[in-house]
């Protein structure tokens, strides 16, 4: 028996993740021991403090690169750091939304409509467990794109997923829908993890190793045929594609986006996408890069179907959250072109796109939380009619995000689309670029329809009102707008920053 090697962990490189874990545990302890009255403020402070601290840590390690930060389970490198930073920024914005009142169930365990629930609402309660749950999810997301073996990847996947399953069911209003979305998310999520795991098994079988590097070596110097490799790639991809919401593994996302509390939707739509694409980029760019002949055509097909499907179905939506969900499906298709590109430009573009898209998404959902009537959020698009007249600033912000999604110049979305499509074209994937351009045209259709509705339609009788945004929500919206426009007009600093440090190390 070989000697036991004591594990060495590089705490400084892991500190962003560790800080978040620690914050989550502090949150749990607050739940356990703090009195109800101070819980909300304490939780918010801890959550935001944790995330900011973690962001600071990320900044400090931005130029470090290491494959041995956690005994080979984690690789800290440029792309990882950038993605972690993106996740953290998005998470901070999302936490601002989560911290706003009126979003989460008063008592999640109470039966909807029961006296107990009424009692809790009357007492002004709100579940505060969402904060530690959020932090756990963030921790999982931070780990997901830097994981460098299949075990860590799988564990991180579950760490980020489980809290989200739970959070989806915690809505204050329309709780049946919320719980339904939690159930759907959970069942399908678990289903897809099974595929993921099965794929991981075959990759392990093919390469004899669970580390990405081992798989890469096996791909390069593999003996025998590729059947196991291909099965492995296919099934592992199903798990990842499920997370990013690519067709045909997308079906959960509209339902979950609609049912979940809007701040949670914002969080998972933006941050999950970053994390999942981060992991995809790493694994496809490193482990599978030399087998690109096998997966690229498949991904091209999926990307095209995803873009077109997402754009087409979004047109038919009458609910703003569902529409954003389909839009996010379409964007998953666009982002897949970055994976397909398989070059440095594609990597840079994907990271840029993920950040820009994530921020705009959080902003868009933040606006959704503001449009309410007496029964809570109003997501029926027809009732958004005339919003521009009553709340021009809210409507203008939303329009900005929609224009960014549509890829209109001078918004971040345009630079993102341009860079990602040009990277894909550079790699020779012309078909996917053309499909992307065409579906952008389709997508513009429904973004513009919403703008028309807000600005050019007269308000309906049963007016929805826009709540005065709380300071935190206001920060989220304003920051998102500012970033969206700034990145559209002066993308250079970020682009240069990304291109300087975004290099995968092995």
């Amino acid at each position: 028996m070989s000697e036991f090697i004591s594990p060495v962990l590089s705490y400084s490189l892991l500190s962003p993740i560790l800080v978040v874990f620690a914050g989550a545990i502090v949150g749990v302890l607050i739940e356990a021991f703090a009195s109800k009255s101070i819980r909300p403020i304490a939780q918010i402070s801890v959550a935001i403090g944790t995330l900011v601290l973690s962001l600071v840590q990320v900044w400090r390690i931005r130029n470090s690169g290491s494959t041995t930060a956690a005994m080979g389970s984690v690789i800290i490198d440029g792309p990882g750091v950038l993605l972690q930073a993106s996740i953290l920024i998005i998470a901070i914005l999302a936490v601002f939304l989560i911290a706003d009142t009126e979003n989460f169930a008063a008592a999640a365990a109470a039966i909807p409509g029961s006296p107990e629930e009424r009692e809790s609402i009357a007492r002004g309660q709100q579940v505060t467990e969402v904060f530690p749950l959020t932090l756990f999810a963030v921790a999982g997301m931070l780990l997901f794109p830097v994981a460098s073996d299949l075990i860590t990847l799988f564990v991180a996947l579950e760490v980020l997923s489980l809290p989200l399953y739970l959070m989806a069911g915690l809505s204050r209003r329309r709780r049946l829908l919320s719980q339904e979305s939690a159930l759907k998310y959970f069942l399908l999520g678990a289903f897809s993890s099974a595929f993921f795991l099965f794929g991981a098994a075959y990759l392990y079988g093919y390469s004899g190793s669970v580390s990405f590097d081992g798989i890469r070596n096996a791909v390069i110097g593999g003996t025998g045929n590729d059947v196991f490799l291909l099965i492995g790639i296919a099934f592992l991809s199903i798990g990842l594609l499920f997370k990013v919401g690519a067709v045909p593994f997308h079906a959960w996302s509209p339902d979950v986006y609609q049912g979940a509390p809007t701040p949670v939707t914002a969080f998972m739509a933006a941050a999950t996408k970053v994390a999942a694409f981060g992991a995809m980029l790493r694994i496809y760019y490193t482990s599978f890069a030399n087998a690109e002949w096998s997966w690229r055509p498949l991904l091209v097909g999926i990307a095209i179907i995803t873009m077109v499907f997402g754009s087409l179905v979004a047109i038919a939506q009458r609910d703003v959250k569902r529409m954003l969900a389909y839009s996010s499906i379409a964007h998953a298709g666009f982002l897949l072109t970055g994976v397909i590109a398989l070059n440095k430009a594609g990597l840079d573009a994907s990271i840029y796109y993920l950040f820009a898209y994530g921020v705009a998404t959080v902003g868009a959902f933040a606006v959704v939380t503001l449009v309410r009537d007496s029964a809570g959020e109003v997501t029926d698009l027809n009732r958004w009619a005339g919003l521009g007249k009553r709340s021009p600033w809210v409507a203008t912000s939303f329009a900005t995000f929609l224009l960014a999604f549509a890829g209109i110049p001078l918004t971040s979305g345009f630079i993102g689309k341009f860079s990602i499509f040009s990277a894909a074209y550079e790699s020779g994937s012309t078909a996917v670029v053309i499909a992307g351009v065409l579906s952008s045209a389709i997508a513009a259709f429904f973004y513009i329809r919403v703008i028309v509705l807000m600005f050019f339609s007269d308000p309906l009788e049963d007016a929805t009102s826009v709540v005065i945004p709380s300071a935190l929500t206001r920060i989220t919206v304003l920051f998102s707008v500012a970033i969206t426009i700034f990145l559209g007009v002066f993308p250079s600093p970020l682009l240069d920053f990304i291109s300087n440090i975004a290099i995968f190390i092995r």
Partner: protein, 630 residues
Amino acid sequence: MLVNNGLVYLIALPLFGAAVLLLAGRRADRWGHLLATAFSGMSFVLGAVQFYQMLGRSPENRSVSQKLFNWISVGSFNVDAGLLVDQLSICFVLLITGVGTLIHIYSIAYMDHDKDRRRFFAYLNFFIAAMLLLVMGDSYLNLYVGWEGVGLASYLLIGFWNQKPAYATASKKAFIANRVGDMGLSFAIMIAFATMGTVSFSGVKEAAEGTSQGALTAIGIMLLLAATGKSAQFPLQAWLGDAMAGPTPVSALIHAATMVTAGVYLITRSNFIFDAAPTAQLLVVIIGAITLLFGAIIGTAKDDIKKALAASTMSQIGYMVLATGLGPVGYAFAIMHLLTHGFFKAGMFLGAGSVMHGTGDEVNMRKFGGIRHFMPVTFATFGLGYLAILGVPPFAGFYSKDKIIETAFYSGGIKGIIIGSVALFGAALTAFYMSRLMILTFAGTPRYDINHPPHESSFLMLLPMGILAIGSVTSGFLLARGDALVHWLSPLFEAHEGHGEEILPPVVISLMALGVVILGAAFAWFKYGRNPVSDTAPTEVSVFTRIARRDLLQDDFNESVFMRPGQALTRLLVKTDEVVVDGTVRGVASATLESGAALRSTQTGFVRSYAALIVIGAIALIAAIWAVTL
């Protein structure tokens, strides 16, 4: 070539007058007509001075030019805004400004009661300017500007009383017909530029030598098309009758004396092209011959005094065009007839206007009769014009028309006989319808409302009529004496060797012409002079008469061949645009929407079907793997 920097004032004065009258608005109502008349008169004086100076120079040095500025210059396409006055132009200048000024004077009285008289004079001045530009431009493109300018003036004047929809339509019709002709002028210019690289008269004349027959023929035919439009020649003649909607002085000036003769000017001016393109020249003759008869036949059937005169104009211009088609020998005669016709036809139109003025704007000759008793001066001046147009010696028409008939006969072979006979027959018809007109109007028993007898017009109207009548009497003699005009113009044309084959002595032809004129007049006398005339047109008439009354079906033809199909095409295209072109756009949009709605149904809400979707996706992936690893 001499340069004279004063030429531009000829044009600038009336143009300035028009601008002042239009811009000053109602403020100029009181003195506007006088100013306009003065400007027109000054132009005439300038023209006369010019003419006088020309007379003092040797024939080769008579043309003067002025370069105003470089107008359009792109690559090798280089056109100056330049003026040219030569022996041909000066004839027109004098005619335009002279007759024009007379008509200005006439109109002061004629339009006295119209509250828009100022506007009328502005248009008249504008017309003078445009027409002068037409005849003074030194290139086809400059001519084109004047060409369309007179078209615009004509449009404005025909539609002067455009509150009547029919008049407005008439003006539009005139403009459109002219535009068709203008298209010909455009083509001609384009071909000229493409083949010769220049569009100035001198340049084209120079280059015509080395240019292929085909190109020249094409240019010639296109110029002819332009001429048919402007000069109301077949097949673009239909607008002229309707153009009588304008005030009568307009008909006299524009639609009798000057503008409609612009086609003759154009062909004459382009003699170097037609001389080198016999096919085009033959076509000119044919068009002229057809129009000559066409107008004459229409003239026989018209009861509207102005329309009868218009038909006569068309026919007379047919003579001129025919003459221009006869080559070097014909040009001078065409111009001569043009000038004499300018006098007598303008005079008759003014006379007709005077009659109308005296009878309360009645134009139906069947409502006249015996007017000579009430309007002796008008009768006298009109009668002199009548004799002139009939070609009775020694009145003006005798000198000009007989020459044309003669030249037609002498143009050679069977062609000469045919066109000569046509011209002769035209003369007979002319005699018939003009006599009919005279008889119906001035002779016979009164058919007007006895309670409102006609009255003679004012001096201001009678003065121009008198002057023109003098012209009708003397101009032919003056121009023909010693072949004055022929010699005057000869430096412009290719030298020609006398007449063609003289198949008959000139005297015989003159006698024949006189004979047929007497026959025609006599026939008219028998038909209208001896019997009382009904004050409504008889309805039981032959089909030929009916066709003649309908202007030989010219409008029916245009309507069924161009207008209706055009309207149908328009409707079809509007429909096409809506259903096919925009329909495709909307179809794509709605197909997108519908496919979105259809795909939406895959989202059933059942977790199990979502799971099935994932399984299907997985199967697709492994099926692909299965296929590639075979």
